[in-house]
Structures are given as structure tokens and as C-alpha cells.
Amino acid sequence: MTTSPDRSSAPLPDGIVAVVKRDCPTCVLVEPVLQELATSDALTTYSQDDPTFPADLPVRDDTDLTVSYLWDVETVPTLLRIRDGEEVERIVGWDREQWVAFTEVPDLAAGLGDDFPDWRPGCGSLSVDPSRTDELRVRFSTSGLKSRRVDFAELEDEFEAMYDRGWSDGLPVIPPTEARVARMLDGTDRSPDDIVTVVPPDLVECTVEKVAVNAVMAGCLPEYLPVVLTALEAACTPEFNMHGLLATTFFSGPIIVVNGPIRNRIGMNAGVNVLGQGNRANATIGRALQLVVRNVGGGMPGGVDRATMGSPGKLGWCFPELEEGSPFTPLSVARGLEPGQDAVTLFAGHGPQSIIDQKSRSAESLARTFAACLRSVAHPKLCIKIDAMLVVSPEHARVLADDGWDRSRLEGRLAELLTLDSDELLAGVDGIAEGLPEGFGGMELPKFREGGLLIAHAGGGAGLFSAIIGGWVNGDEGSDPVTRAITTRGNT
């Protein structure tokens, strides 16, 4: 998103221009050389940190780094030869032969004695110091970020001010300064004013820039942004129905499952405590999605969000599948994408609910445990209308793998085990009023519709436990899982 800065605000005089800083030993070393040059040639010297250095020269003050930044000075000392206002040549560091050739002064530094070194590398320019570059980029930016600027008063605590404005999900948010947002936008090659999607409930066209602002607030790093952008696109499809998911009285929220090499590239955790706290990428990507729905879409708890109880995952829930060592094809591949493709799968869910089985050593026995526990999703007598995700831990996966079971074998067996006698599901049966209407007796019904049970592999290496993530109403009435390829690339 950055474009070349305009140098017209910092023109350089013709002749030789030196850029130095006192904090650089090489610059200090060449101080007498510069003093010598000043007498023999048209020399203009800029100092990045101390206008009294080099001594006895008419030094120009570049402590605000305007010249250094706009003329792309990366090393000090740098010598530039300027002709008609344009750079024609530059050298960096100290190299006696190079300086002699550049300045065309044959006996340059000859009087400084035999001990004077012939060569010394330069130091880093302050204009490329990481602590200064964000501020410089904002100062000279032509990025054209369009969001309204909100000034906080001197005595205002910026974190409290953001709470007061209703921008937080309840946890502190990082102030989205222009520098931070510009840095976040390095995470994508998309233009800040590209429309990503239309965000419910207010049906607002949301730009890449607004996503970046909220990603900063959520605590994301720039390299997470492609995941956030794709997750938002997937969430705002008619099939996923983010509007209904937000508005429902039910528990669920958007859950993001990440597949592909990007999981490891951005440091996600698919292992120990995968569904818990402690990993920045896991914790902030899901949060960024929910902050966009809140701040851009206008979806507030108690407003359009009418959840009776909600669930903690609504703060943001994102986790990667553990593809390494899995007996299953990755979830994204099972859902139609190519292996190795970075992807997100959006699932409307809540939980998790635990499955304990520490005794099964055969796939059949473990599948029966899974089926018995999955039967209770939403209600043991309700079926077809609600999806679920089964997250199989590595130790449980090993039991399946030892018997040669893969994804389709497990899915097939679970479908058999979860084919239910509808007479057991009728309203009133077992003294429970909830259940299917009378006309549904005498049938075999599946607990889950076809494709309604998603299976993923994740978790730490120890523990014969797996997890059920309960879903929301599916299909046209509710939400279908959506899998999308992550195609956007970073700038850097």
C-alpha cells in the first residue's frame, strides 16, 4: 500500500551531500575527512542526531529525518552526488579508494597518518530504525487511509476512551493508530479501500482498511490479516448467515478452523490446549472477526445479538487443524479444496463438550463412544436440524489409525451408529415433552444430516479425550459450514 515518497519537500543542493550521525563510530572516524572535503568541494552535511556534529562545519539539521527518509538513506555515512537536483551516484560507509574516486580528491585523508584505516563499514541510518519507521511512514504516507481520525484528549486514558465509545468486546483493545493500521495493511496485497464484503446486521460495505483497524484492536499481527479477511468473507455469505447467527437466542458464534501451511507460518497452535487460551494467532483472529461484526456491522449483545446465554467462544474462536500425523485428510480437503491450500472453514457452533474414553483400544469401540456422546447434541431426541463438529485428539486418532480407519471410514460408521429409531424421538417419550411430532413415528432418522458432522484432528499428545462442538440450526433455516481458500498475499 506504500508508494514512493515525494522528494520535492526535501530538495538537495548540487554537489556532494553527506548524511551522518554522531552515534556512528564510522561517522566519527571520518569527521576530519569531511572537514577536509568542505574546504575543497561543494559539500553539504546533514546530521541525523546532533547538528553540532561534525564540528566546524555548517551542518544541516536532519533530526526529524526528512532528508534521510525521503532520499532512502539506509546507512551512515552516505555520500550522494547531486546534479540538477537529482541523485547521480552514492556510496556508503568509509572506503578510502571509493571516497577518493567519488570526490576526485587524490590525496583525500592523506594527512591523517598511517594508522587511519582504509575501510570501515557504516552504521544503520536512524530513518530505518524500527522504532522510527512507523512514525516516518505515517508522516510521509500517501496511503490515503480514509477512516475518521479520533483524537483523545491529553488527560484521557486511551484504553478507557475506547471502552467508553463502545468499541470493545469487554477486553482491552489495542489503540488503532494510523501507524499500526498501516503496518497491519502490510499483511495484504489488497488495497485499503477494497470492499471485502457486506457485514450484518447493518449491512455495511466493509473495506480492507476497516478490517485492518479492527484486527489491530484485536491484537493481530499483519501476517494474520489474510486469514481474518477470508474468514470475514466466508462468514458474510448467505449460506453461513452471520446475521441469523448473531441474532439468535442460541449459544453459537462463528468458529474458524484453519488448514494449510499458513497455520505454521503464522505460529498457530494446533497442539496442547488448542481450544484454549495462550496463543496469539488462535486468540486474536477469531476476535478480529467478531470485532468487525460488532464495530462495522453494528452487532451488539443486547442489540441485534439476542443470545439467551451466549458462550465464551463468542469473544472469538479460531483454531488450526493438526494436519501433521493425522489419520484424516484435512478438513478443507474433505470439503473440496486442494491439499496444501491455505483455507478457513467457518462453523456456527459453541462448546466444547468433552468426550472421555480411556479404555477403547479398537476403532469400533471408540466410534461407539463418539456416537453415544454425539447423540446428546442439542437434545438426545432432536435430529437432522443441528450440525456438530467432532475434534478428535491425537491419542484417540491413534486408536483409529491403528485399526486403519481414515476419515471416510469413521464418518461412515458414525452415520450407521447414529441412525435412530424415530419412535424413541417422539414428543412425550421417556416422559420428556420435547421431541418430534407424532407423525414421525416408525422411521429411521439420522442424528445428523449428510455432511452435518464435521471431523477435525487437533490437540495435545497426551489425553484420551475428544471434543464435540455443538452447532446451530443448519440449512436454509440457519447456517451451513463454509470453506474458503485464503488467496490474499502479504505486501512484505
Binding site: S147, R148, V150, V204, G244, N295, G297, V473, E477
Partner: protein, 92 residues
């Protein structure tokens, strides 16, 4: 002082004045919108009975295709053109 970028959609909410409440139901057409939640019809049947007994000229019934999504534009238009009053029922 620090400056941040506004994370919201920066929209001004459109405010529309509500219509005055009618003094009576005499001669009015009342619409009842079922959002398609279970047993919403039980509640609306009873309301219809009440309304007809209180002088409404007509009571028309509508329903959303699903309670999880906003009412389609066509349905909203139909209600607006046919009815003087509308009651939307959320029920479980």
C-alpha cells in the same frame, strides 16, 4: 494526545418518526407476521381472535420463510401496502 482510526462504519443512523397510534381499530387492516418459530401460530391465532372482536376490518396473516433471516423485501412491501397496522410475533 493520541489519534486513532475510527473502527466503526461511521454511519449516521436514519431516524424516522413513528406513526401516531390509532385511536381505535375501527376499519383498520391489521397484519400479523409469524416469524416461523414453533408455536408462534398459537399466539397469533389468539391475537387474531381478539382483534376481530375489537373492530378490526380485517386481519391478514403473513410469515417469514425462516426466523433466522430478515424478512425478504417483497414480504415487507406486501405488508406495507396491504395493512394499516402490523404485529410481529416472536414465540417459542
Amino acid at each position: 494526545m493520541s489519534t486513532v482510526l475510527d473502527p466503526t462504519a461511521e454511519r449516521t443512523v436514519a431516524e424516522r418518526a413513528r406513526l401516531d397510534r390509532p385511536a381505535s381499530l375501527d376499519g383498520k387492516v391489521v397484519g400479523l407476521l409469524d416469524i416461523s418459530k414453533p408455536r408462534g401460530d398459537v399466539f397469533l391465532d389468539r391475537l387474531e381472535e381478539e382483534l376481530r372482536g375489537r373492530g378490526a376490518a380485517d386481519v391478514q396473516r403473513f410469515s417469514k420463510p425462516t426466523y433466522t433471516k430478515p424478512a425478504p423485501v417483497d414480504l415487507r412491501h406486501e405488508i406495507a401496502t396491504k395493512c394499516d397496522l402490523i404485529i410481529e410475533a416472536l414465540a417459542d
